[in-house]
Assembly symmetry: C2
Homo-oligomer: 354 residues x 2
DNA sequence: GCGGCGTACTGTATCGATCCAGAAGGGTTC
DNA sequence: GAACCCTTCTGGATCGATACAGTACGCCGC
């Protein structure tokens, strides 16, 4: 049997509490006794207080949980998500806190709920989860502090927000397209339709989208387009099941292989936008001349491929989220952080072809 | 006060055990009673059994710990590490297990040890840690299963290995350089000298390096060079404090700004090799013609920049590590997995200039 | 009518620590 | 030398659950 505090205590004839103090409160006992205790512990192969038991008694887990888009492994394929994670990890590291990534299998909601309920953490960060996901309800039920990047009507008072103004970010991008004279436009994004398939989303309104980030970004485009007289029903929306390059290319095919093709394509993420660029090149079309393309996020690859996009501070978003979670400000007003975004115009947007 | 099992039990006059069974073993009580219990729990705001207490009693944490190079946030800047993490996350997800990233501050060893001792996990994965790091001793003391990518003399019997044959991987790369006629060669890597500074490492032998991965990779180069008559003392070694592009460029400067400069530079990672390429370009030198450069890892950027490198399967390494940790094979022989590597010759190596 | 059996639920022990009120002992103060 | 303090250590209560042996009871067979 593995040794416990009691084992060590018995070995040298002191009380359990004293051994505990030897580890956790060295000022509570003489240096001499402490040395003897640690020596005895080493001899017995006792590695120090059991973290689980300690967590139970201290009511502190020493870790924060991270709830991520769909599949956990997927998070590591998106450079933007990696940037966010880096920031979050920085904050956790600073506070000497672990970072628990939760397995959220997309097919199995019950497993996701179980993951939330079994997580030994002091709080949660939520990032890019569809609004309807049952894990979010489970999370609210646990009553732990939550920092989210998406507002949700049912958010409790313990919930904080760190994010950007998604709608005004895409409004700027939309105005850019309108100013260039584009009138036949399309938008590609994930969670636009319920079914996880590549194809037209047939959205009567952005409000129908059940995923905060996509919904808000669509709203921004909608208002920019409307201001230039381009009404929503004339805008083609295409859904992608995953936020990845291949899906972006496949979705673009739906738009490019029909006439008349749109003169501008707005993707709700850079990864998807890069896929659109692939599709253009495959058809001998030049981005920015034949078809304009806008992304979102400004990941490193976007600069490398000269993609016009909306910049948002990925790692800072993660870092601020972590800080807010680990050290919540007393004033509720400080629990909402809106970070700045900016339109980065590069080579993939240009005047609409006449 | 937050409700507990007892609160719910008292509310409807059953025992604590029965409420526990309602959640964990539904077959142990009538469906009717179970419904009443869950209803009462919902009314009281009880979100289900406390994960910490459950972990203590069940002797299972439901998470695996990850010990990473130096700083946690740093891990997310290296595409190879991200690939490894993706694989590990995949395995964890499959097993419905969380992934706890531990904060290993590089300046503060005591904090790192504390992080290991306080981690509520069922096992650990170790990746890219210097051999001497005290956290590794703390880890061994905890007696939990460990899967490591580096062999260490003090590894316990519970320890498994998933990795590559580092030395033979670099031997292949070294032979490639020798076959191209290079005789004045240099190696850049991290942990080559004790001090975390950019500069010559002054290594009398690879055996002096206290970091498994770098040591083995150097050994491979040493043997390839020696076979071609290039003795170790004539090889220049340069240390980089961090595994990043800028450090690689700065280290290359030490080699390129003196005469005679080496005709080939081997970097122990792609990230550093890409920095070397930057330094070459900054001096108007052409990689593969004026100076040959070899990397290690074969990250996506390596292909994009046509870097000759050694491919190793990043995410598979992570995935196999996770699988081995979560489902340890009975036969100790199966606890060692050596994955294949392969030299990928691209444009940054060429015949030695005469 | 009684043993045997299965189902539904109870109650105590236990997981491995920390908290905290209090006791023992030595030294200081007046 | 009584009162007081400080340091050092103790022991019972507690954190919130699960394990497991045991009880109560209905039902079946004979």
């Amino acid at each position: 049997m593995r040794p416990t505090l009691q084992t060590v205590a018995d070995a040298i004839g002191v009380s359990r509490s004293t051994v505990s103090n030897a580890y956790s409160r060295p000022d509570q006992l003489s240096a001499d006794l402490r040395d003897r205790i640690l020596a005895a512990a080493a001899a017995l192969g006792y590695a120090g207080p059991d973290p689980t038991a300690r967590s139970l008694r201290k009511r502190r887990a020493g870790a924060i949980g991270m709830l991520f888009t769909a599949s956990l492994s997927f998070a590591f394929t998106d450079p933007y998500a990696v940037g966010y994670l880096r920031g979050l990890a920085e904050a956790a590291e600073q506070a000497r806190t672990g970072l628990l990534l939760l397995p959220l299998s997309i097919e199995d909601d019950a497993a996701a709920v179980a993951a939330v309920n079994e997580a030994v953490v002091d709080g949660f960060c939520v990032y890019c989860m569809p609004d309807w996901h049952p894990a979010l309800d489970a999370l609210a039920a646990r009553g732990l502090p939550v920092v989210s990047g998406q507002r949700r009507s049912s958010d409790g008072p313990a919930s904080a927000f760190v994010g950007i103004d998604e709608a005004s970010a895409t409004r700027a991008a939309g105005e850019h397209l309108m100013a260039l004279g584009h009138r036949r436009v399309a938008v590609i994004g994930d969670y636009l339709s319920v079914a996880p398939t590549i194809g037209p989303a047939l959205l009567s309104s952005p409000a129908d989208v059940a995923y905060y980030t996509s919904r808000e970004r669509l709203r921004g485009y909608q208002s920019a387009f409307a201001a230039a007289g381009v009404e929503w029903p004339t805008v083609t929306t295409v859904n992608v099941p995953g936020n990845c390059r291949d899906d972006g290319a496949a979705a673009a095919a739906h738009l490019l292989d029909r006439a008349p093709r749109p003169t501008a394509i707005a993707a709700l993420s850079d990864i998807v936008a890069l896929g659109v660029l692939d599709a253009l090149r495959a058809r001998g079309l030049q981005p920015g001349r034949d078809v304009s393309v806008v992304g979102f996020d400004d990941i490193p690859e976007a600069a490398a491929e000269n993609l016009t996009t909306v910049h948002q501070p990925a790692s800072e978003r993660g870092r601020r989220s972590g800080e807010l979670l680990l050290d919540p400000p007393a004033d509720p007003a400080d629990r909402t952080v809106v970070l700045p975004t900016r339109l980065v115009v590069r080579a993939t947007t240009g005047p609409a072809p006449s």
